[in-house]
Amino acid sequence: MQRLGLGLLTLLVVSIVIFVAVNALPGDFAQAILGQGATPEAVAAFREDLGLNRPYLTRYFEWLAGAVRFDFGTAYSQAQFAEFAGSDAGSGLGSVAEMLGPRFRNTIFLAGLTALIAVPFSITIGVLAALYRNSVFDRVANISTLTSISSPEFFLAYILILFLAVINPILPVLSLVNDEMALTERIRMTLLPALTLTLVVTAHMMRMTRAAIINLLASPYIEMARLKGISPMRVIVRHALPNALAPIINVIALNLAYLITGVVVVEVVFVYPGIGQLFVDSVKNRDIPVVQACCLIFAAAYILLNLMADILSILSNPRLRHPK
C-alpha cells in the first residue's frame, strides 16, 4: 500500500517534470503546423484557439485533472480538424485517449512478443553460462550479447533486415500490423522488430542471471548440495536459481519497461504503428497533449513494472514474505 502511494507520488512528480520540459521545447504547435505561413497574426490566432496563451499553472492543473480520469484532452492536430469541420461529430478522432489506444495495444503486443522470446532465452543462456562458466560457450555468449547491447538499435535493425529480409527474404521489412490481421500473420510481421529488441535486452538479463547464480555458488548450502552428489545442473536450477530470482526479476522488469518506452527508434525503422512513432510525430508537430500523454504512459509503465518487480521479489523470498 505504501509502495503504491509512493508510486503515485512519483507519477505526480514526473507529471510536473513532463509538463515543464514539454513546455520548454522551443517552437510550438502553431508555428510547427503553420510552417512558412507562421505570420505573427496567424500564430496568435492559433494560440488563442488552442488556449496556449493561458498561464502555465492553469493549463497544468486542467491537464492533471483530466489525466486522472484518463481524459488526456484533445490532440491539437485533431482539435484543428474539429474546428475546420465545425465539430468532430462522428469522426471518432477526437481525444488523445482514442488516438493512443490502438497505438498502445500495438506497442504492448510488440513488447509482449519480445518478452516471450527474450526472457526465456536470456535466462537459459544465463543459467548455461553460469554452469559452464569460463568455458568457450560462456565467453561466446558474453561477447555476442555485449556486442549486441553496445550497438545502436537501428544498426542491429538494419543488420537483421539485411540478413532476414534482403538477402534471405523470409520476413517483411515493414511491420504493417493492423487489427484485422490473423495472429500468425501479425507475429510474422512483428518478428523483426521483436528480434531487434531481443538483441538489445538480452545481455542485461543474461548477465544478471549469470552473475546472481555464480554469486550464490560460493554459498555453504550450495557446497552442501554439491557434496550430496547432486548434478551441477540440478544444483543451479533447483537450489541456486530460486534464491537468485529477486535480482533477476528486477532486471527483467527494468527491461520490460524499456521495451515499452525505448521502442521509439525500432518502431520508426520498421514503421511499426506503435506509441513510439506517434510520440516522434507528435514531438515533431509540437502536439503537446499527445506528447504529455505518451510521457505519462511511459512513466507509469516504469513505475508499475518496478512495483510489480518489488512485489514479485518479496514473494520469491520467504524471509521477506514472513517478516519477523
Binding site: Q31, G35, S77, F81, G90, S91, V173
Partner: protein, 515 residues
C-alpha cells in the same frame, strides 16, 4: 549514367514538361484493369484528415486530390488543363465572368448526385470565418457564385483572371457533397475513382475502385490501392527494394545509385516548379543597392550547388520563381552565370569594395541549406564579397528568420500559374513578399497579364517579367529541385510523368496500372 547526360536528358524532358522514365512503358502493353497497388509515401502525419484546406504534404495530396476526391479542373500529365468535374468553361472578354458547365450523372461515394450546390458549398469552405485555407486567396477573389441551373455556375471575379480555371485545379479545392460536408470530411466521401475503405491518419489508407466512373477507360486501373505512411527514408527504400511496396516517393539522393542498379526498380525523376531561394530584403542596406544584388547573382555557382546539394537531381535556377512546370516558363532568357570577375566589376563600377553581408540559413529552409550557404560563401569570396553564414535554429525559422533577416535561405514549392506565383511572393505589398521588392514595370505587367486571355500576349508578358526579376529582382534562385520517385516493375505508366508534384503530379493512383 553520368551527371552530364542525366542533366541533358532532364533539360530536354523538362522543356516539354515531361520526362520519360527509362523502361517505364512495359513492352507496349496498354493499361489494363485489376490488381492491388501498394504505395509507400513520405509526408504523412497523425494530424492528417480529409479536409482539403489542411493539405500540405504529399501523403494527403496523393490520396485525396489524386484518388478519393476530384476538383473542377485537372492538369493533365502533359501540362494541359482538362476538365475534371467541370466539363467546359468560358470567360467573358475581360476574364471577369466565368461560366462553368458541370459534368452530369456524377455521384458521390454515398450515392448523392453531384450538382452546382456542391461546388458552391465546397468553395465557400475556404472563405468561412476562421478557416485557415491555403486556397483562400483563390476563392476570396470570387465575388459572386450564381447557380444558373443544376449543372451550370457563373462565377464573377473581383478582377479579371485568365488563370481562373487553372487555379481551380489546386489540390486544396476539393469537391464535397453539399449539406454533408462534415460527414464527407470525417469519412472521405468524394467523387473520385476510389472510395475509402480504411483510413488511419499517419499509418495507412486503403481504397477500392468504384464500380462505374466518368473516367472509366481513361484512368483508374487498379482494383484497390494500399497507401502506407513511411516517413523514414531508409525504411521506404528497403520496402521498395524487397517488394513490400510497389512505388515510393522521395528517393534518398544518397542511395539513388543503389536503387538504380536494382533491375526491378525504375527511378522516375522530373523537374517541376519546386525551387530554393535566397531572398534579400531590398529595403535594407546593402541589398537596396541594385549593384550588390547583381554582383551576388554572379557570385554564386549554381551548377556546383545542383551537383553538391542535390547530387545532380535538379536544374540550375535563373533568379525568378517560374519553373518548367509552368505554362510560360521562359527557358531561353539570359542565364545569370557564375562570373566572379563580372561581379567584381559590377561592384567596382558602383564604387563599392569590401562588401560584407550576413546570410541566415537553417536546414528548415531546405535540406542542405546550410551547406548551400557555405558553398555560396566560398564562391563569393572569389568575387571579393564576404558572406558570413549565420546558422539559425530550425525551430521557428519561418516566424523568426524568414521575412525578418535581411538575407536568408528559403524554398518554394512553386505555383501552377505564373500569376499565382508572382502575386504570392513578388507583388508589391503582399504579406509574403520576402524581398520587399517593388518594380513599377513588373507590377504593371502583372496586372496586365492577369486579365489577358490571349496566350501569345501572355507569353510575352510573362517572359518579360521573368527577365526583369532575373536581372533586377531581390532573390537569388540557385536551383530547381527535382521530384525523384521510384517504382518497381510491378507497376507501369504511360511514359508521360506529370511534373507539378511528386508521384506523377500526385496522380499515380489514377494514371498507373499493374504491369
Amino acid at each position: 549514367m553520368t551527371n552530364l547526360s542525366r542533366r541533358g536528358l532532364l533539360k530536354a524532358g523538362a522543356a516539354a514538361g515531361v520526362l520519360t522514365a527509362t523502361g517505364a512503358v512495359a513492352g507496349g502493353h496498354g493499361p489494363k484493369r485489376g490488381g492491388t497497388a501498394k504505395i509507400g509515401l513520405a509526408g504523412a502525419n497523425t494530424s492528417d484528415s480529409w479536409d482539403g484546406r489542411t493539405h500540405s504534404d504529399s501523403y494527403m495530396i496523393v490520396t485525396a486530390h489524386g484518388c478519393v476526391f476530384d476538383c473542377l479542373t485537372e492538369v493533365a500529365a502533359d501540362g494541359t488543363l482538362v476538365g475534371e468535374l467541370a466539363e467546359s468553361w468560358e470567360a467573358s472578354a475581360d476574364a471577369k465572368t466565368w461560366t462553368f458547365k458541370l459534368r452530369q450523372g456524377v455521384t458521390f461515394h454515398n450515392g448523392k448526385p453531384f450538382s452546382a450546390d456542391d461546388v458552391i458549398e465546397s468553395l465557400n469552405l475556404h472563405t468561412a470565418e476562421g478557416a485557415k485555407s491555403a486556397a483562400k486567396p483563390i476563392v476570396s477573389a470570387i465575388t459572386e457564385m450564381k447557380k444558373m441551373d443544376d449543372h451550370t455556375i457563373e462565377f464573377t471575379l473581383a478582377a479579371g483572371n485568365a488563370d481562373f480555371p487553372f487555379l481551380l485545379s489546386d489540390y486544396h479545392i476539393l469537391m464535397y457533397p453539399a449539406g454533408q460536408i462534415e460527414e464527407a470530411i470525417a469519412n472521405g466521401i468524394g467523387t473520385g475513382l476510389y472510395k475509402v475503405e480504411t483510413f488511419e491518419p499517419g499509418v495507412r489508407t486503403i481504397v477500392s475502385r468504384v464500380d462505374s466512373h466518368y473516367k472509366d477507360g481513361s484512368a483508374g486501373w487498379f482494383d484497390s490501392i494500399e497507401f502506407t505512411a513511411i516517413n523514414d527514408s531508409t525504411a521506404r527504400m528497403n520496402a521498395l527494394m524487397t517488394g513490400q511496396i510497389d512505388a515510393a516517393n522521395r528517393v534518398d539522393f544518397k542511395t539513388e545509385p543503389l536503387m538504380r542498379a536494382n533491375p526491378n526498380i525504375t527511378i522516375f525523376e522530373v523537374t517541376g516548379n519546386q525551387h530554393y531561394t535566397f531572398p534579400m530584403l531590398t529595403n535594407v542596406s546593402p541589398f537596396d543597392d541594385m549593384a550588390v544584388r547583381k554582383a551576388l547573382k554572379h557570385a554564386i555557382n549554381r551548377q556546383e550547388m545542383v551537383d553538391k546539394i542535390l547530387l545532380g537531381h535538379g536544374a540550375v535556377g535563373n533568379d525568378h520563381p517560374i519553373g518548367p512546370a509552368n505554362q510560360y516558363f521562359a527557358s531561353d532568357i539570359a542565364q545569370n552565370s557564375y562570373d566572379p570577375d563580372m561581379a567584381k566589376k559590377i561592384l567596382a563600377d558602383a564604387g563599392l569594395s569590401d562588401v560584407s553581408v550576413q546570410l541566415s540559413a537553417s536546414d528548415a529552409a531546405f535540406t542542405g541549406a546550410v551547406d548551400a550557404a557555405q558553398l555560396y560563401q566560398a564562391s563569393a569570396k572569389e568575387a571579393g564579397i564576404n558572406i558570413e553564414v549565420v546558422q539559425e535554429p530550425a525551430d521557428g525559422y519561418w516566424s523568426n528568420v524568414w521575412l525578418k533577416k535581411p538575407w536568408c535561405a528559403c524554398y518554394w514549392s512553386g505555383r501552377a500559374t505564373e500569376d499565382w506565383m508572382f502575386s504570392t511572393a513578388y507583388e508589391t505589398g503582399v504579406p509574403w513578399n520576402d524581398t520587399q521588392w517593388e518594380n513599377a514595370r513588373f507590377q504593371e505587367l502583372l496586372l496586365q497579364g492577369r486579365a489577358e486571355l490571349d496566350t501569345t500576349k501572355r507569353s510575352e508578358i510573362y517572359t518579360e517579367m521573368q527577365m526583369i526579376m532575373s536581372e533586377e529582382g531581390g532573390t537569388v534562385v540557385p536551383m530547381y529541385a527535382n521530384y525523384v520517385d521510384a517504382h518497381s516493375n510491378k507497376l507501369a505508366n504511360s511514359g508521360t510523368i506529370g511534373n507539378l508534384w511528386q508521384m506523377d503530379s500526385s496522380r499515380i493512383a489514377e494514371r498507373w496500372w499493374m504491369a
